[in-house]
């Protein structure tokens, strides 16, 4: 089995005549955390929709474990998704929410309890196992959402700006925890964010997109050893470098515009 879990091959997606993604291509290796950053409206959501099986491409393809998505007759890959809003079913307990995806993934019932308990333990929300999501705080619901993504041992996990609705302190805690959990479970993760610092902190590799229609502008490997500290100056340095490089590409450079005027 090859080392590459996700292969995005010359992907293009258009809504009618309007291209959202154009010749996007990158790979994700097993156990890698890839952070995708791009300006607003560049097509990140479209890309996520394609990767999660919701939206077939207009051109090009996406393969998971060497099987091309959106071909009829193929078994669907197991994936986890952590949304920006928790998207837990409010009328089911945390346990039931997890059991739902376990059932859908075809995992034998005998394993359910063990998996659920160990994951909730790792995410420190064991005591909420039989609670309704509405009784949990925002951070706790996010943990439950992450648990749901992990419990099925997916081929890959997509994360769509999951920490953007949290307060900074909680977000910072979550980033550190996510980092260690993902390392421990050796999950393959594609993490979309608009915070370059967050991306640098979490990523093994950064994928920087262009403005709409999105294609890969640059990839950057983040070489800092783990466990990382958010306040680490090296992270700030890399962040600054990246920001410098994208200012122009994303059309945000006021200085250059002022100079040209």
């Amino acid at each position: 089995m090859s080392d590459i879990v996700i292969r995005v091959d010359d992907l293009s997606v258009s809504y009618g005549n309007v291209p959202a993604i154009s010749n996007l291509a990158f790979n994700v290796r097993r156990g890698e955390i890839v952070c995708v950053v791009g300006p607003s409206g560049c097509g990140k959501s479209t890309m996520l929709n394609v990767l999660s099986g919701l939206l077939p491409p207009t051109h090009g393809s996406v393969s998971v474990n060497d099987q091309v998505l959106y071909r009829s007759g193929q078994p669907l890959p197991r994936l986890g998704y952590v949304f920006q809003t928790h998207r837990l079913l409010p009328w089911r307990t945390v346990r039931q929410n997890l059991e739902l995806v376990l059932a859908a993934a075809g995992i034998p019932k005998a394993e359910w309890d063990g998996r659920i308990r160990s994951l909730l333990d790792v995410l420190q929300i064991s005591r909420f196992i039989d609670s309704w999501p509405m009784r949990l705080s925002g951070g706790q619901r996010l943990r439950a959402s992450i648990a749901r993504a992990l419990v099925i041992e997916p081929s890959y996990i997509l994360m769509d700006e999951p920490f953007s609705t949290l307060d900074e302190v909680t977000a910072r805690t979550m980033r550190h925890e996510l980092s260690s959990i993902v390392a421990r479970t050796r999950s393959t993760v594609i993490f979309v964010t608009h915070s370059i610092r967050e991306a640098v902190f979490l990523a093994d590799r950064l994928i920087i997109l262009t403005r709409s229609p999105a294609r890969v502008f640059e990839e950057k490997v983040v070489d800092i050893e783990r466990p990382r500290l958010y306040e680490d100056s090296r992270i700030g340095q890399i962040e600054a470098e990246v920001v410098e490089r994208v200012l122009d590409a994303w059309g945000l450079d006021d200085r250059k515009r002022a100079e040209a005027a």
């Binding site: 999660s52 099986g53 919701l54 669907l76 197991r78 994936l79 998704y81 949304f83 809003t85 998207r87 079913l89 409010p90 009328w91 089911r92 739902l100 995806v101 059932a103 859908a104 993934a105 309704w132 999501p133 509405m134 009784r135 949990l136 705080s137 749901r148 099925i152």
Partner: protein
């Protein structure tokens, strides 16, 4: 205002009905003597005849509501698909919604000649549009986000219906059901009167009225209200509350 206070005022209102009744009896000629009515209650309530009539009406209402819910649900899903189906079915919903109860009764009686099916049919006819509009409201405001989550995690269609869509539209369904239920009881009395049924609340009101038995009008009215209110507050509302336990936010 605390719940205790609210209940207090409500109880006061109900309690004041008793002296109001006495006053009504003294000052009008159509309100019966409370003492006499209450005195006649035990015999009335223990008579088998009484409950046969109640049972028949309840059966008709229940059957009609069931049919109305099934039909209404099917209509709602069909209409939600848009297109020609929606435009063909919507006029029926509108028509049923706007048919006066008396007319619905007459048409049903001419088609079904007062058979039991006719009673069930007219209740179904009158109630299904409420179920349809209520459900459509729910379907249209359905949470795309949860649908996407269900799709991404490969939930089966059945699981989707049962765990995502069902619970979401349940509140709309319950609200529609409460309206439909109230309406069902209103129409059954009318049809039973028009149709000269042999049994049921409607015909008992009719007999009592025809033979000037004011006492009986009171007895049947009290029983009717008790049954309707019981169904609403002791069956429907508790069921609704149970289903929505999860709503208590932190």
């Amino acid at each position: 205002m605390s719940t205790g206070r609210t209940i207090g005022w409500s109880v006061l209102a109900v309690v004041l009905l008793v002296p109001a009744w006495f006053l009504g009896y003294h000052f009008t000629n159509f309100i019966g003597d409370p003492v006499e009515v209450v005195g006649a209650l035990p015999a009335f309530l223990t008579s088998g005849d009484t409950w046969v009539n109640v049972g028949i009406s309840v059966a008709r209402v229940f059957g009609g509501l069931l049919a109305g819910v099934v039909l209404g649900t099917a209509m709602a899903f069909a209409i939600n698909r848009q297109g020609l189906l929606k435009e063909t079915l919507t006029p029926y919903v509108t028509l049923a919604l706007r048919t006066p109860s008396a007319i619905a009764a007459i048409v049903s009686l001419s088609i079904f000649h007062g058979s039991e099916i006719g009673y069930v049919a007219v209740v179904a006819y009158v109630t299904f549009p409420y179920v349809t509009t209520g459900l459509l409201d729910g379907l249209r405001s359905a949470d795309r986000e949860l649908d996407q989550m269900a799709q991404i995690y490969h939930l089966s269609t059945w699981a989707h219906m049962r765990h995502v869509l069902g619970p979401f539209i349940a509140p709309y369904m319950f609200a529609a059901l409460r309206n439909a239920h109230a309406l069902a009881w209103k129409i059954i009395v009318v049809v039973e009167i028009f149709g000269a049924a042999t049994e049921g609340f409607g015909i008992q009101f009719s007999y009592a009225w025809e033979y000037f038995r004011i006492l009986e009008v009171h007895l049947w009215l009290l029983l009717f209200m008790a049954v309707v209110l019981f169904a609403e507050y002791c069956v429907l509302r508790p069921a609704e509350r149970r289903v929505f336990r999860w709503r208590d936010a932190r």
